[in-house]
Amino acid sequence: MITGTRKPMEEIRAMIAPFGRVLVAGCGTCVAECASGGEKEVALLASQLRMDAKLRKISLEVGEITLDRQCVYEFIDQLTPFLENYDAVLSLACGAGVQAVAEVFPQWVILPGLDTGFLGETREAGLWLENCRGCGECRLHLFAGVCPITRCAKRLFNGPCGGSRAGQCEVSPEVQCAWHLILERLERQGRMDCLEEIYPPCDWSRHQGRGPRKIQREDQRA
């Protein structure tokens, strides 16, 4: 899933300052799972904004809506009947959702209410971990299911650096060293020979570094 965290109140307040009528729009998928942009968070933020406006004696009208997804046109369309009543949309979707909505309604001001994070897993309640950078050529089979591109701070392909301590990464001691995990798992699986291979430099050109990527599948097109 794609994670996000809500922007600080100060920043949101400054962003919506020029507008009198703001629609807070949530997204019911990824950011709902990571408890930052679903229906609950929309309701919470909307009432905080109303209360804040009242305290500061500002006139502010705040609406609420949560779409199933903000990154898919069929769902975005549900905003159409509401937009007329608002000056701006404060989107609690990930950056892809915010951009998709802005693309569909180019004449409206669409503001990001979240800081979009990463592709990750929900490890336990309240704990989300990044484990994929969407490099475009998955090599998890070579690394015992642990991604060194994402989980090693130096993106090393050919074994650990010299800095790990007791299995923790030198960069942030509370994070496990990806290479420690890889080695442990390969050893347990009796596949240490995987490590003898010298993996060549990554071919970033095929995947990243050339602007936005696109997937187009003829079999899926109408």
């Binding site: 130096k154 392909f157 650990p160 010299g162 800095g163 790990s164 080695l183 240490m192 003898e196």
Partner: protein
């Protein structure tokens, strides 16, 4: 221009090699660098120039190496993959060779978060093994990573580092094997305080036959004070400083600690010279280059051999 570096000739001539490290200044004035280099001249076979060590911005390693070269020293260009992508790295390798800088030490480098510009984007387009492999391919096959041919292959003597003490322990010798397979002709290790564990590692290295395939130089950092010892033990990633050493430093009065540190270093050198398969030492006396001539002289490693470097 001579095709072999002094370091390569010394190692291939089966002499016990001595190298030292020299950190460039945090400014554009080369005077400090020249002074450090002058201290090292004549008492070591080659001088490593660090590449923005600990991710702190310094005078560039390539330029510093050129200055050392001009002063008549044999520089070892340290190259980290942290700050430059494969285009810049390969270009620097050609530049080094063109300047007559033959020794290159390939590293991934300390993470940017430890340095002077923690907001920087770490590049890490290649890792150290990929850089080694690329440099070797440029030299031996005349090819860039991208596959294109280069007009004049660079002349390079390639090195890598290894930390015998880093986790996971059992894997370290195998990691060295990988570096050797990628093209490492010499290896400089993390500094050694735990001789016992180092001997164990050397045994693993010999069992894999790696001492026959590469020249291993043992890293050494003389302790200046008990405080430094404690810092190394507690704060430096991947360092293994046994309690016994720390206690020994702490037992002597502050005014005698430097002497004690030198004594420990001399004892370490003596012990290292007995280890089969070890080909030399690499002294990393951070901002304390003055101690190097004394260490080398007192351990009986002077004068340094004068060697034939070929045509």
């Amino acid at each position: 221009m001579k095709h072999r570096s002094n370091l390569q000739a010394v190692l291939e001539g089966a002499h016990f090699a001595v190298t030292a490290e020299c950190g460039p200044p945090r400014g554009a004035d080369s005077q400090a660098l020249r002074e450090k280099a002058q201290i090292l001249k004549g008492c070591v076979d080659a001088v490593n120039v660090t590449d923005n060590q600990t991710a702190v911005v310094r005078l560039c390693s390539l330029a510093s190496c050129a200055i050392l070269k001009e002063m008549g020293l044999d520089p070892v260009l340290q190259m980290t993959t942290r700050d430059r992508n494969r285009i810049a790295l390969q270009s620097d390798l050609l530049g080094a060779s063109a300047l007559g800088i033959r020794n290159v030490l390939c590293l991934s480098g300390d993470h940017v978060c430890f340095g002077s510009e923690p907001q920087a984007m770490g590049v890490f387009d290649l890792d150290s093994i990929q850089l080694l492999y690329a440099a070797r391919t440029m030299r031996d096959q005349g090819k860039f990573i991208g596959g294109g041919a280069l007009s004049d292959p660079p002349k390079l003597f390639l090195g890598a580092v290894e930390n015998p003490f880093a986790d996971p322990l059992g894997f370290r010798a195998r990691r060295l094997a990988k570096k050797v397979a990628a093209g490492a002709q010499f290896i400089q290790t993390q500094c050694i305080y735990n001789l016992e564990r180092f001997r164990e590692w050397m045994k693993q290295v010999r069992d894999l036959g790696l001492d026959q395939k590469t020249h291993i130089l043992a890293g050494l950092t003389p302790l200046k004070s008990a405080r430094m010892a404690r810092y190394m033990k507690e704060k430096v990633a991947g360092m293994d400083l046994p309690d016994a050493i720390l206690e020994r430093m702490e037992k002597v009065p502050a005014s005698k600690q430097t002497q004690e540190g030198i004594k420990i270093a001399l004892e370490t050198i003596e012990a290292l010279r007995e280890i089969p398969g070890l080909r030399g030492i690499h002294i990393m006396a951070v901002e304390w280059e003055q101690v190097v001539p004394q260490l080398v002289a007192d351990s009986g490693l002077l004068p340094r051999p004068s060697v034939d470097r070929g045509q």
